[in-house]
Subunit: 399 residues, 2 copies
């Protein structure tokens, strides 16, 4: 079998995992020959031959003996420069950078098409779960109606601890940071931004349309407090940060928002740092996939599966140009809203269904609620399925 | 895009689904031009142009304008003749025939290799769940330690009704037959044979070894009675027919047997006619996939995904020759055993842990228990996880 020489950018959590996985598999026909890092003197917990380490990107990008570039750095703009140059130089590229793919997918698609290049990014969405592979290969003649995902392991870990151990949001976040599940600056995870990047890539592969992540309405988990957890527990539901895209009669709605999830849903059982993707399609019906969304080896297993794709000449089947959607607006829905009394009093909603001192259940458009949130009020907004609302009618005075 | 002409064998549940799916997708570059059926006069609930219908296989197999053969008949031996001839004639073949693949996979692999042919069979295992695709593509540089599957929708439907509605096995089977989930002769489903065929294909793609389905120890669901269902309910577990293959230090054990499944397991939540596959791998860790295992459209969606593979030139990456395993012996384990008192009294086991009038919980080798079963006694044998045994110690006198 043909042997390939590869260059690796980044030797962090995922980079180290990929390097170790390939080192442990001597039969695998791809070997990492050069590694570009920012700080070659940094202490690492893996052993790498110093002669493989470079700080100059061009040492890898201009080396014609390297057919494959594996890009695993953090900065999306720098990553875009590296990946673009690699594609222009005729290299096949594997990346795990969801932010880069989400921000630049139009440009990258065009560049791949112009250079007839290969660009694969299974690890960018839901770590080890082969979601891109499946969307790309399995639903070619099917019609996807809905995709639902728990795509951020950090948020899911935090919400699981809050619910199972009664920890506050702050304590659960701290614990996640101690365990390495959350970064020192947790903004991207807890705000929903990370999920939104991933959802935009899922939308690209599910519906073949380009959506700016920024245009997807988003609510994070930062304002979820004990009373929301208590409400969930009383009603035998769990709170999960859910990314969802729904296609109906050719139009698309999408959102990233905490949801009360009932035990009748498969995602109810996705706990700790696990991720999941549920696909509802016309012919295949419902498909549910669950796996580790983070961690060195689970994520690197997705990178390595893309390396196998290169060996067997499998690429993604996306059109070179995509329809661009201007704005994604979820239709009005039911929400649990908590915050200070003053703010709750001035909510701009269509209907108030339950009104307690510390929360309200309202029918509203998410856009309007987010406006209120922007005005400086720390609102906790949690999506509430209609089926749960019906159950609440037995215990609450529905107005 | 290049257009392909295909020939279809069989117009039953799956065949009709494939024909309809392709008819509804005019953009899909594969069209069914000829259909071979046994009985052209048979009343069908889909409309097919009579000029497309043939009864002579060679009309399809010898037609050089047909590049693709889709084989969806029942008889595995006849299917093998069709598929072999199609491969010899240079055609690309898609089949859903698990029995044929399981019985003939050595011959088919060799033939595919000799003719440089394409043979794809995603629909043969777990209907719509893309299990072969994943095993083939995602775990190339990973090491699979265990595969667990609920692969028979009929059994799962029957067990779900027995547990949820208190129905007897006979009544649940009858209902499954009325709904079209079970055939008039349910032997292959309820005996575990169907699961065993599928498990042998899963083993082929997980571990690269050839195992005769006959060599996998098997227990069906026919003897599961109300008291076993009651035992499950009392202990908050469910009974599922589970196919499992475990690799440990290079040796393999496999079995198909009803198991008491605890709520901590993902397969606990696989009910009704759903199927599931759980893969435990060294790097990817645990992956869980759930989807419809039967039904016209879900199964045909897997067939159509293979047609997409042909368009994009994706094949399976199996070696042409495989290691053949002689015998698969599960190591000794814990079992719930029920039957008449006389038989229970003479069980050949290593240890008896619980001894009630109508059942015993024993430590034994499955092979030995199956010997007792063969001697004419209708034994109900259900695998019992060690963790459940520990819980039982609180409520039962463990001997």
């Amino acid at each position: 079998m043909k042997k390939y020489r590869a260059g690796l950018f980044g030797l962090g959590v995922v980079g180290s995992g990929v390097f170790q996985t390939l080192s442990n598999n001597k039969d695998f026909p791809i070997s990492i020959e050069k590694i570009a890092v920012k700080n070659p003197g940094k202490k690492r917990n893996i052993e790498v031959d110093a002669s493989k380490i470079y700080t100059d990107a061009s040492e890898l990008l201009e080396d014609e003996s390297l057919e494959i570039i594996i890009e695993l750095i953090n900065d999306p703009h720098e990553a875009f420069q590296i990946v673009s140059q690699a594609l222009r130089n005729g290299k096949k590229v594997v990346t795990a950078n969801k932010k880069m793919i989400s921000l630049y997918h139009q440009e990258l698609l065009q560049l791949s098409s112009e250079t007839d290049g290969t660009l694969l990014y299974e690890a960018a969405v839901c770590g080890s779960i082969p979601v891109i592979r499946l969307l790309d290969q399995q639903f070619g003649a099917d019609e996807i109606n809905k995709v639902t995902t728990i795509a951020n392991g950090t948020c899911n870990y935090i919400l699981t601890q809050m619910s199972a151990k009664g920890w506050s949001y702050t304590k659960a976040l701290q614990e996640a940071q101690n365990l390495g599940f959350a970064e020192l600056d947790p903004y991207s995870d807890v705000s929903g931004e990370d999920t939104r990047f991933k959802l935009s890539i899922i939308i690209l592969h599910s519906f073949g349309v380009h959506i700016k992540a920024d245009d997807i309405p988003m609510v994070g988990i930062e304002h979820i407090d004990d009373s929301a957890i208590e409400f969930a527990s009383e009603n035998k539901v769990k709170i999960k940060l859910v990314g969802q895209a729904i296609q109906k009669n050719g139009s698309l709605s999408a959102s990233v928002i905490p949801q009360f999830v009932e035990a009748s849903e498969d995602i109810f059982f996705v706990d700790e740092e696990y991720n999941a993707v549920q696909i509802d399609a016309k012919y295949a019906n419902r498909q549910f996939f669950k796996g580790k969304g983070a961690g060195s080896f689970p994520t690197s297993s997705a990178v390595v599966s893309n390396l196998s794709d290169i060996i067997y000449n499998r690429g993604y089947q996306l059109p070179a140009s995509l329809t661009t959607f201007k704005k994604i607006e979820p239709t009005s829905d039911y929400y649990y809203v908590a915050g200070n009394e003053e703010v709750l009093h001035h909510l701009n909603v269509e209907e108030i269904l339950v009104s307690e001192t510390n929360y309200k259940i309202v029918k509203a458009s998410l856009g309007t609620l987010l406006e209120t949130s922007k005005e400086g009020a720390a609102l906790s907004i949690i999506n509430l399925p209609e089926s749960l609302l019906k159950k609440l009618a037995n215990t609450h005075a529905i107005i």
